[in-house]
């Protein structure tokens, strides 16, 4: 019997615009189908982050207004969050607005800047045109194991990774981080940030399993375990439809 995986869902009342609960539902079901539990706790404005208390952090996307409301609070949590994830090895998934907020910050078009937590090595500047549509990435999170991620992006921000930072994947079709670099997302240890929603995990179950394995490694120590495979025929079909949409849209515009 495995111990339960403890998930901290940050600001679920504010950052939930692209069906973020779909990602949580996928983690939850895929854990329980393999005989372990997911304990999800909400961390809201003013709540404390205790390093070591959670194995996986989740930060979703929000509308501009909601992002601005949580940004100062997240900055105040930056130190313990960095300690938990970067030093402590907890897993993390940040999507869209959450991805931007975990960088050093967001520079608006008219000086309306938003500070970030500075956990991921990147920053974001506003662009004139929103980048909207289906996206397909090619990833290699585990060396030697190539996989694809299919999702949907909708962002005005252009995210620039610091030199030497690792992207989540190469853009096969769609815009990606900034519509120019050919890369999307950012990986730092067990932390993943990305613009891809859809939500992301239902049609990309391998990433859900990767996150669960990282979270189990944090909980139990040692290397991430190999999780028992699940029948994912429906997931594969949804992935194929989504990636066909992205391919029809073509490469970098």
């Amino acid at each position: 019997m495995r111990p339960s995986v403890r998930v901290a869902h940050l600001y679920p009342d504010y950052l939930n615009i692209y069906a973020d609960r779909g990602n949580i539902a996928v983690l939850d079901r895929r854990a329980s189908w393999r005989g372990f539990d997911l304990e999800v706790s909400a961390i809201g404005l003013g709540d404390e982050i205790v390093p070591g208390a959670h194995d996986l952090y989740y930060v979703g996307g929000g509308q501009d207004r909601e992002q601005l409301l949580v940004a100062p609070d997240l900055v105040a949590k930056a130190e313990p969050l960095r300690e938990a994830v970067v030093a402590g090895g907890a897993a993390l998934l940040a999507v869209c607005g959450g991805y931007q907020l975990l960088g050093r910050g967001y520079r608006g078009l008219h000086g309306e800047d938003m500070p970030g937590a500075g956990l991921l090595p990147l920053e974001t500047v506003a662009g004139e045109r929103r980048m909207i549509g289906d996206v397909l990435l090619e990833c290699e999170l585990v060396p030697g194991r190539r996989t694809t991620l299919a999702g949907f992006e909708n962002h005005a921000g252009r995210t620039m990774l610091d030199p030497g930072a690792t992207p989540l994947g190469r853009v096969v079709a769609g815009f990606g981080n900034d519509g120019a670099s050919g890369y999307e997302g950012c990986v730092l240890g067990r932390a993943v940030g990305t613009y891809l929603h859809g939500p992301l995990l239902p049609r990309n179950p391998w990433l859900a399993d990767w996150l669960l394995a990282q979270a189990l490694a944090h909980r139990e120590g040692g290397n991430p375990p190999e999780l028992e495979p699940l029948p994912d025929a429906l997931e594969a079909q949804a992935h194929d439809v989504s990636s066909a949409r992205a391919r029809a849209r073509g490469g970098l515009p």
Partner: protein, 454 residues
């Protein structure tokens, strides 16, 4: 005033387009007219002796404006875009097609509202709600709300602004407007125990603190108050009280106004239709309808095309409810479950531009109440697999999900699983609804919608 040659030419195109069977010929002439004569829509509107009234909302604009039309029809000859052609071109086509009309009664797309207000200079505008909807197309809720705030300042001083006070963003639009009417519900018995997951405007529009709800009715619509700065629901002028919901059949309520109260028995179900009826009643009153006319109009209303429709097929019934965004789909599910959860359901998810390319919204819908008693889900449409995943991860056994992207065979499968005398629930997105309508029309089961409009 003589009609310009362009207007006559555009009318000709409308008939031609209908003859060729290209849809209802609803927007083609309007598009042509806008090209030939960009100022024509302004003049067509100015010609109407009783002026123009507009209805906009994320959810229910087609139904609310159809209800208002039913109330007002005995009083005025109407130019009304009943088929839902609600962009600038559709408005132009509607005005063009109704040369004898006295009053324009027009449903308008949320994004098109600012331009339509500028062009047709309405004497009344009814704004019923703002929910998140197709973020890839409309952008964030705040963006639409900002455009509405700007558009409302363009209204003539004597124009009547009818708003839903239960929606914090929409209710606030009436602040500072000389002639406004605020409507809302007042019956905590039909409130939800908690805000739904998909609730949108749940943080104070002034200070950002979470609102406290004395009653939450549909999504974020309700009786709210900010505990920090005190911003609260404005006083209501037109109110629904003593609401009774009767499953999938009908709903009734007491309509209270400054001029008295009347009991209304609506022939359509659901709390969201009580909101639609209130919007229609408040608007029609502002346009001169009597309370008697309001009651009579609402009680003879039948649902707008495809929004809620029963179609008889070989001794079985298809019950079709449009779903298009989380708030609207939640109400469809709630109404269905109130009428007894179905054993079989066909859910159709397309991702054309009119449906929204981004299908993530289905994960924000509370489909879970449907799962009790659901033996088979037929998932169909272009994104059937994604829909199947939504139900699988929502807790439906995977072998209860039947996947068939083709709408026609999916509908047949649903009917096959429905016993004679039974009812098959079909929940389609917009373009799937149109395709299903064509399908049943081609089988001779229902009339094409423009035949019914005519």
């Amino acid at each position: 005033m003589l009609l310009s040659a362009e207007i006559l030419a555009a009318r000709g195109v409308a008939s031609l387009s209908r003859l060729l069977g290209r849809g209802a010929g609803m927007t083609v002439p309007g598009k042509l007219l806008s090209k030939l004569d960009p100022g024509a829509i302004d003049r067509l509107a100015a010609r109407l002796p009783q002026g123009v009234a507009l209805v906009s909302a994320t959810n229910g604009k087609t139904t609310a404006s159809a209800m208002a039309a039913e109330i007002l029809r005995p009083r005025f000859r109407l130019a009304h875009n009943r088929s839902g052609a609600n962009l600038v071109s559709g408005v132009a086509s509607t005005l063009l097609a109704a040369p004898e009309a006295e009053l324009g009664l027009l449903e308008v797309d949320e994004a098109a509202l600012p331009e339509v207000i500028r062009r047709v200079r309405p004497r009344a505008v009814c704004l019923a709600n703002l929910f998140r909807d197709q973020l890839d197309r409309y952008g964030e809720l705040e963006l639409v709300a900002g455009r509405w705030r700007e558009a409302v300042t363009q209204l003539a001083g004597d124009a009547v602004l009818v708003v839903n006070g239960d929606d914090p963003q929409v209710g606030a639009l009436a602040d500072g407007h000389a002639r406004s009417v605020v409507f809302g519900l007042d019956d905590p018995r039909v409130a939800r125990p908690a805000l739904q997951h998909a609730a949108d405007s749940k943080h104070c529009i002034r200070c950002g603190a979470p609102y406290e709800y004395r009653a939450a009715y549909v999504g974020h619509l309700g009786d709210y108050r900010c505990p920090r700065c005190g911003h609260s629901r404005p006083p209501l002028d037109v109110v629904a009280r003593s609401i009774e919901l009767h499953g999938l059949e009908r709903a009734s309520f007491e309509l209270a106004t400054a001029d008295g109260a009347r009991r209304i028995d609506l022939p359509v179900p659901g709390l969201y239709n009580v909101y639609n009826a209130l919007a229609a009643a408040a608007l029609a009153r502002a346009l001169g309808a009597t309370l008697d006319e309001v009651v009579a109009g609402l009680e003879r209303f039948s649902a707008a095309f495809g929004r809620f429709e029963r179609i008889d097929v070989d001794g079985k019934t298809i019950l079709m409810l449009l779903i298009k965004n989380p708030a609207g789909a939640n109400e469809a599910v709630r109404t269905l479950v109130d009428g007894g959860a179905p054993r079989v359901a066909v859910v159709a998810l397309n991702d054309a531009i009119a449906d929204g390319r981004d299908v993530s919204w289905i994960w924000d819908v509370d489909f879970e109440p449907l799962l009790d008693g659901l033996e088979t889900l037929v998932a169909t449409g272009d994104r059937a697999a994604e829909l199947g995943l939504r139900f699988k991860y929502g807790g439906l056994a995977e072998d209860a999900v039947e996947l068939d992207p083709a709408l026609d065979s999916a509908l047949d499968r649903g009917l096959e699983l429905t016993p004679v005398g039974g009812e098959l629930v079909v929940l389609p997105t917009y373009t799937a609804m149109l395709a299903l309508q064509r399908l049943v029309a081609d089988r001779g089961l229902a009339k094409r919608y423009w035949e019914r409009v005519a």
